[in-house]
């Protein structure tokens, strides 16, 4: 195939950053990237992928962490004949120092194509383009520097947390500590695919849910509080003095009309109606904060497949204190996995299984009492029938 790639070159135009520019830079160092650009040109010409997938899984002893990728015409593109993806488990909250990042990049430049994706939709560090022979040496060197592979296939995918108390004043529990603990505890489930399909755990420190736990994980913990919002009236006055329209932008937009502006003071007049939407906190962070009796809501059953419709999580435990050693949370997760593993069909996610077998059967199996918070919109429709 000739070296000209006019269709791929189109993606270099425009004022925004271009991955094609970066590929061309990388191609000066790695022949595999040269071939990769040509493969992409071919896929644009033929309007279909030029990759086969499926096959090799990992390094010795691991059933996940490597996704096999092979080009359809290896004779034409020999440098990307095998172009596997490696998933490296990310640290909780994605906190790195520059030394760690340089280490990963150096290892990858030495063994692979040099191309990375920080971060993939799994949250992992994605190393794109490894030959079969280099998989084990790459893993060995990553291990020497304290990194491990993440999840892929029918296993527990890399547990993921928001930055939590590391950077965020709204974190209602230590998301980083919890996810670190879970990752360490469930190494077997992460590296040896034991389940009917993939499964994910995510932790968000507050209802802003920066890691989209409610939409992207089978088991999610989202920070919340049992008491009331804390309102600093002096700070409220400062907002008002700076002509910030509290009535229009905050009070009028409270979805349950739980807050009111009374004689210049912002008051939580109906605390029982506050649904923790975070709107007022997001707009007036200096004046309004979450309560002090903090913990998490546990939800189950989200998934975001490409073909069928996405499913949002359902509340399972309205409030739980999240403290080490997290025994109650881990026991609950294990019960859920046990039920799913026992009853789930191949490639059936937890949400689909709950839908098929019914919420009452699920709750009975995991020994959780039904409660009003499980009803999606209790005031609008209390008669939601599961299955």
């Amino acid at each position: 195939m000739e070296d000209k790639t006019p269709m791929v070159d189109e993606l270099e135009k425009g004022p925004w950053p271009s991955y094609v520019k970066e590929l061309k830079r990388a191609a000066k160092k790695h022949d595999s990237v040269k071939d990769l650009i040509k493969v992409q040109e071919r896929s644009f010409q033929r309007k279909m992928t030029q990759w086969k997938h499926g096959g090799i899984v990992g390094v010795k002893g691991y059933g996940g962490g490597v996704i096999g990728r092979y080009v359809q015409n290896p004779e034409e593109f020999p440098n990307v004949a095998a172009f596997h993806t490696m998933r490296v488990n990310h640290p909780s909250g994605w906190f790195y120092d520059t030394k760690a990042l340089r280490t990963i990049c150096d290892i990858w430049d030495k063994h692979g194509s040099g191309m990375t994706n920080f971060h993939g939709s799994t949250g992992d560090i994605i190393l794109l383009g490894c030959t079969t022979e280099e998989l084990q040496p790459t893993f060995d060197e990553l291990s020497e520097h304290g990194f491990d592979l993440g999840g892929s296939g029918s296993d527990l995918r890399s547990p993921t947390a928001c930055v939590g108390p590391g950077r965020c004043e709204w974190a209602c529990f230590d998301t980083l500590g919890l996810i670190y603990d879970i990752t360490k505890t469930y190494q077997m489930e992460l590296h040896r695919p034991p389940y009917p399909y993939k499964t994910k755990i995510k932790a968000s420190g507050c209802p802003n849910d920066c890691v989209a736990a409610i939409a992207r994980s089978d088991f999610s913990l989202i920070g919340t509080w049992r008491d009331n919002l804390r309102i600093d009236q002096n700070a409220v006055k400062e907002y008002a003095d700076k002509k910030f329209d509290i009535q229009r932008l905050v009070v009028a937009k409270c979805p349950t009309e739980a807050i009111e502006l009374v004689k210049g003071k912002l008051e939580l007049t109906h605390p029982e109606d506050c649904v923790r939407c975070m709107h007022c906190i997001n707009l007036m962070p200096k004046a309004i904060r979450p309560g002090v009796d903090t913990g998490a809501t546990i939800l189950v059953g989200a998934k975001a497949p490409i073909i069928h419709g996405a499913v949002l999580s359902t509340v399972l435990i309205p409030f739980i204190k999240v403290q080490p050693p997290y025994t109650e949370i881990k026991q609950l997760w294990e019960k859920i996995m046990e039920w799913w593993d026992e009853n789930g069909k191949t490639r059936e996610r937890l949400a689909e299984l709950i839908d098929r077998m019914g919420m009452p059967a699920f709750l009975k199996a995991i020994d959780v009492e039904p409660c009003p918070q499980m009803v999606n919109t209790p005031r609008a429709n209390p008669y939601f029938f599961w299955g």
Binding site: G54, V57, G64, G68, G153, S154, R192, P194
Partner: protein, 74 residues
């Protein structure tokens, strides 16, 4: 032969038998379903994983779901 070794042998025999019938790659659930009358589910899962460590079985994955096969069928 220890119980673990015996179960691993059963698992390999299962794969040899079923690999002749057209398919070469199987989900863990397929094996567990057939052998769970004789053995504990967890023991079968462990035996399958042990087989991948000693190389008598191999993982095969699409990236989203994982299967097992004999090395000659990889």
């Amino acid at each position: 032969m220890s119980n673990d070794e015996e179960l691993k042998q059963k698992v390999i025999e299962w794969f040899q038998k079923h690999s002749k019938e057209g398919h070469t790659k199987f989900y863990m659930k397929d094996v567990v379903h057939d052998l769970c009358g004789q053995y504990e589910k967890r023991a079968i899962q462990k035996a399958m994983n042990d087989c991948t460590v000693d190389g008598t079985l191999k993982y095969w994955s699409t990236g989203s779901s994982t299967m097992f096969c004999l090395p000659e069928n990889f």
